[in-house]
């Protein structure tokens, strides 16, 4: 059952919000689930909140579009009254005094928070292993990493411990765990969803997004959380999409912000502005396991044949993307962590963080020294402009781009791996992050019993086209 249908059932009184919360709570409390180390903190008020929603339904009062649905939140997104610790000892015991904008939007639609989820410490990791409270295990195979950094968010959806989860994606942190856990992970266009209340990793790249069972569910939640926010100046009202009614709100400029859904097959969109019907399939042969590349190619060809798309082989500067990404992240992360000095809240970050967080802080402090002015960060900004330009050129020829979400399948938890190899997990997800375009990962099969995700990128604010394509898989 999809989320829309479940919410309808609850609103119609066929399933109560309390029953929904209890069903998940029971599952979360089992020893098998606890061993997966998915939740860090639970919301003790979930039942009373569900009772209030049920009461309103019984009294025929107004309820929101997500009435009674249960969600869980990555521990770097502020939820008032709950511990928002970024899976770090630095913020252990820190209770958020306010809600992130996305949380306010979901609560306004009567969704219920079940709790806060495990993650890589300060979102610094691609495996789910760097949490100071122990690694998250992959529900599909607990010996394997779930991916990261939104490890708990993907694992919670895969283990069916909530209806949907919220995560953050800087260079692949939603898409990567979605791929390893066999769920759908959405990174929206940069600026489509407010970052207010997100404890940032890298402010010019961070996006708040969703983990769900299907692209249809992702679309429902995205439509609720997206939109302009006065507390985040990178959001923009003129590019706000109303995906439920399939139209654009405001006056789109330069063709951006238009709902687009015209790649073969039927479309219920009022506007049809993309006519090419061509998909770009990225050549990943130098950077990706052959079996994964072959699976992506086979699946894309299969769907293309069915839907009448043409496939064009394209190239992206994947190696440059990873180099650019890490210089941007080290610099911006060093800058943002200056607030963790242990006076107003938490502990001093340099004294309490784990190795990966320290690597980024120490590296960031080195490359931002005055003597390096004009190098590192500025070089990365120039490379960023180059990568954006490559996408602009590609999107003149193709409607969307397909590539693997992760170049390798999941390794075993605790397995020794070089820093460079670990960073290379992000090689196929960082290009979209650097360009600020939307991206989605959908599960497409398994290799050696390990989940594999396929990633779709579309131009800025063309989430509608992306959802359409994703549902074809």
């Amino acid at each position: 059952m999809n989320l829309k249908s479940k919410a309808k059932q609850i609103s119609a009184g066929k399933l109560s919000a309390v029953e929904n919360v209890l069903a998940f709570s029971k599952k979360i409390a089992t020893p098998k689930t606890k061993d997966l180390n998915i939740f860090l903190k639970l919301n003790e008020n979930a039942i009373s909140q569900a009772k209030a929603i049920d009461k309103r339904i019984k009294e025929k009062g107004d309820v929101g579009r997500l009435a009674g649905l249960c969600f869980a939140v990555k521990s770097n997104i502020s939820v008032k009254g709950l511990e928002t610790n970024c899976a770090s000892k630095v913020l252990e015991g820190y209770i958020s005094p306010y809600n992130a904008t996305v949380i306010n939007k979901l609560i306004a639609e009567d969704a219920i928070i079940l709790g806060m989820l495990n993650m890589d410490e300060f979102a610094s990791g691609a495996s789910g292993e760097t949490s100071a409270f122990g690694p998250t295990k992959n529900p599909r195979n607990p010996e394997l990493i779930p991916g990261g950094s939104s490890s708990g968010s993907a694992a919670a959806v895969a283990a069916e411990l909530c209806d949907f989860a919220i995560g953050s994606d800087t260079g692949g942190s939603i898409r990567n765990p979605a791929s390893h856990c066999g769920v759908v992970g959405l990174k929206p266009t940069y600026g489509a969803v407010s970052r207010y209340g997100l404890i940032d990793l890298s402010m010019s790249l961070d996006c708040v997004g969703t983990l769900t069972k299907s692209p249809e569910d992702a679309k429902l939640i995205f439509n609720i959380i997206q939109g302009q926010d006065n507390f985040d100046q990178t959001t923009n009202s003129n590019q706000t999409l109303d995906l439920i009614n399939q139209r654009t709100i405001g006056s789109p400029t330069s063709g951006r912000g238009r709902a687009t859904a015209s790649l073969g097959g039927e479309s219920n969109s009022k506007e049809k502005i993309t006519k090419r019907g061509i998909i770009g399939l990225v050549d990943v042969s130098k950077f990706c396991d052959k079996e994964i590349a072959d699976l992506i190619k086979t699946k894309t060809e299969e769907i293309a044949k069915k839907k009448g798309w043409k496939i064009k082989k394209v190239n992206l500067p994947l190696d440059i993307s990873i180099q650019t990404y890490y210089i941007l992240v080290y610099t911006e992360f060093f800058s943002t962590t200056r607030k963790f000095e242990g006076r107003r809240f938490g502990k001093k970050i340099e004294s309490s963080a784990g190795p990966e967080v320290l690597r980024r802080i120490i590296g960031g402090s080195e490359i931002t020294k005055a003597e390096h002015d004009g190098r590192y960060y500025k070089e990365a900004l120039r490379a960023r402009a180059f990568i954006k330009e490559q996408f602009n050129k590609l999107f003149k020829e193709v409607d969307a781009i397909i590539l693997p979400t992760v170049p390798k399948t999941a390794h075993k938890i605790g397995e020794a791996i070089s820093i460079k190899d670990m960073y290379n997990y992000d090689i196929t997800t960082t290009p979209a992050s650097i360009a600020g375009i939307p991206a989605i990962s959908v599960p497409i099969g398994k290799i050696n019993e390990k989940e594999v995700g396929l990633q779709i990128n579309t131009p800025h604010f063309q989430e509608e086209l992306m959802f359409k394509l994703a549902s074809d898989f």
């Binding site: 005094p97 302009q228 400029t253 006076r343 080195e366 070089e379």
Partner: protein, 87 residues
């Protein structure tokens, strides 16, 4: 150098190794980016400036949480010793 990614407390010696390793890695990345031919660019929005409105108002709970989160509190104030973060 290969290692597992599991969290652990970091010694001063390990911090020094991390410093050397990260510098080496970033230099390697930067030297490759030097070869990329592109101009630094900035995004300029055509419109979409925010309306100021009334701003954000804190509530009593916000104040309570902030004081509870602080390591040192005296009466109604957070104690932030000058230079204390350097220790």
């Amino acid at each position: 150098m290969t290692q597992n990614s599991l969290w652990h407390e970091v010694s001063e010696k390990e911090k020094e190794e991390i410093r050397k390793e990260s510098k080496k890695l970033l230099n390697e990345f930067a030297s490759k980016l030097e070869k990329v031919k592109a101009k630094e660019s900035h995004f300029q929005r055509e419109d979409g400036q925010r309306e100021e409105g009334d701003g954000w108002k804190t509530d009593e709970e916000f104040r309570t949480h902030m004081l509870n989160n602080a390591p040192f509190v005296e009466d109604d104030s957070i104690v932030a010793e000058k230079g204390g973060w350097k220790k």
